[in-house]
């Protein structure tokens, strides 16, 4: 993706001055975002070190029925390679990232009606909430590979949720459980004032946006 730099004059009461800016295709970059080539790391605590020997992921439906997979069982599920753009609420966007993961649809194959809302749980205690419709229909993956390599721990390895159409805090690192229910329960950042839904194209960063 070619990135063009040009002088930019910010308005200010003293007349502003030129500083450099970064241009990218407008239809790829949501409002208030800038494109980076880096892959920044943002986490509220230490990176959990989860060996695949003790990793597990579970899905619990609205009736409390649980299904779970260990690493070997999860690795036997069909996976897909997807190329997506990422948009972090801290303003960076990263275009054309390549992931390998298991579609959330695959994990829900045996569940006809999981419930309208989802609270995602992670190793380390992180949680985030999403409507069920935003993780079904080919919109979300449990990703275990990034850019052709195993997903690094600081980026959520062994596996993280990937929901690229929402701000990236919804793509919970170190994911280990999906708890479905019929009502919305706020996750970690959502209870500190971040938006319950988080659509980057509507710039839903914080509660009330």
């Amino acid at each position: 993706m070619p990135v063009r730099r040009e002088a930019r004059a910010w308005q200010s009461s003293t007349g502003g001055s030129a500083v450099s800016g970064v241009e990218a295709p407008a239809d790829r970059v949501p409002p208030g975002q800038y494109v980076t080539a880096d892959f920044p790391v943002l986490s509220a605590g230490p990176t959990p070190k989860i060996g695949s020997d003790r990793w597990r992921i579970s899905v619990t439906d609205r009736e409390g029925r649980e299904q779970s997979w260990n690493w070997a069982e999860f690795s036997d599920l069909p996976s897909e390679e997807v190329t997506v753009d990422l948009h972090c609420v801290t303003k960076w966007s990263k275009l054309d990232t390549v992931w390998e993961g298991v579609s959330v649809d695959t994990l829900l194959a045996d569940i006809t009606d999981p419930g309208s809302h989802l609270l995602v749980r992670s190793y380390g205690g992180y949680t985030t909430n999403l409507p069920t419709n935003d993780v079904t229909g080919g919109k979300a993956w449990v990703a275990f590979g990034y850019d052709g390599e195993a997903l690094a721990p600081e980026h959520g390895g062994p596996a993280r949720l990937l929901v690229p159409h929402l701000y990236f805090w919804k793509s919970a690192k170190w994911v280990n459980g999906f708890d479905f229910s019929d009502h919305e329960r706020r996750g970690f950042w959502e209870s500190y004032g971040y938006h319950d839904y988080g659509d980057p194209w509507l710039e839903q960063r914080y509660s009330g946006d």
Binding site: R5, R8, A9, W10, Q11, S12, S13, T14, G16, S17, V19, S20, G21, V22, P31, G32, Y34, T36, A37, D38, F39, P40, V41, L42, S43, A44, G45, P46, T47, P48, K49, T90, K91, W92, G124, G125, Y126, T127, E154, R186, F188, W189, E190, S191, Y192, G193, R205, Y206, S207, G208, D209
Partner: protein, 249 residues
């Protein structure tokens, strides 16, 4: 990891630059007056929005360096080479200029006296900024919660808030350690290497004291320090981190 409910809408507000402080050759503090500011917790940040003459806008997040202080808040900004926003804030912004902000944002990487202590602050580079808000809050409120500060900078000229830290270090209950990783003056008495387990052992609260630990800095710094803290026995649930990548552009 339970959250406090802060669910009111964050509107953009016009603030005025009332003072500019050169903290180092690459770092400047900007004191903003925000009429009707609703207050903040030490460690929270704000979003800044700049608008160009053609309507293009850029937003960035900056930690607040000061505890709640009426309508005043200070951000401390490090220059990012080729950055889109920081060169303007550091080289061009003048007293009397107006900038749009909204906040406060974040509520986990914060300290106030109700959280208690002891408190261990560990910062790398400009990652000391939100930690400084916490230490300033402790000193300003006359709290007796014991604080230890450990920060890492490349060289003596990169040290931030040094005079103020020297003054705080002479108080009861506050210890300050700074390490210089690339170069140091001949008479430097502090450590001169990157933060490692031995340095954590020597200068920070031991795990048995169950300190609240706040770690902020570049990603690699925070990864290394947080991992070392867990390895020497600190509970992961007592370690709060804030990371900024190489892309502060």
């Amino acid at each position: 990891m339970a959250g406090a409910a802060i669910q009111r809408r964050l509107n953009w507000a016009i603030t005025e630059v009332v003072e500019l402080l050169e903290e180092s050759p690459r770092v400047r503090s900007v004191v903003l007056m925000s009429p009707g500011w609703a207050g903040h917790l030490s460690g929270q940040h704000i979003d800044i929005r700049l608008t160009a003459e053609d309507g293009y806008q850029a937003q960035r997040s900056y930690s607040i360096a000061t505890p709640e202080e009426g309508d005043l808040l200070t951000i401390t900004v490090e220059l990012v080479e080729d950055g889109e926003v920081s060169p303007y804030l550091i080289e061009d912004l003048q007293v009397g200029d107006q900038i749009e902000i909204r906040g406060p944002i974040g509520g986990y990487f914060v300290w106030d006296e109700a959280l208690g202590g002891p408190v261990q602050l560990i910062g790398g580079g400009s990652g000391v900024v939100p930690l400084m808000a916490m230490l300033r809050a402790r000193v300003r409120t006359g709290s007796d919660v014991p604080f230890r500060w450990l920060s890492s900078a490349r060289s003596h000229e990169d040290l931030l808030f040094q005079n103020e830290l020297d003054g705080m270090a002479s108080r009861d209950g506050v210890t300050v350690t700074q390490t210089l990783t690339r170069s140091h003056p001949g008479d430097w008495s502090g450590p001169t290497r990157r933060v490692d387990k031995a340095m954590l052992d020597e200068y920070t609260w031991p795990p048995g004291d169950r300190p609240l630990v706040y770690v902020c800095g570049p990603t690699g710094f925070v990864e290394n320090v947080a991992t070392s803290l867990v390895e020497i026995g600190h509970g992961a649930d007592l370690i709060r981190t804030e990371r900024f990548g190489p892309s502060g552009r």
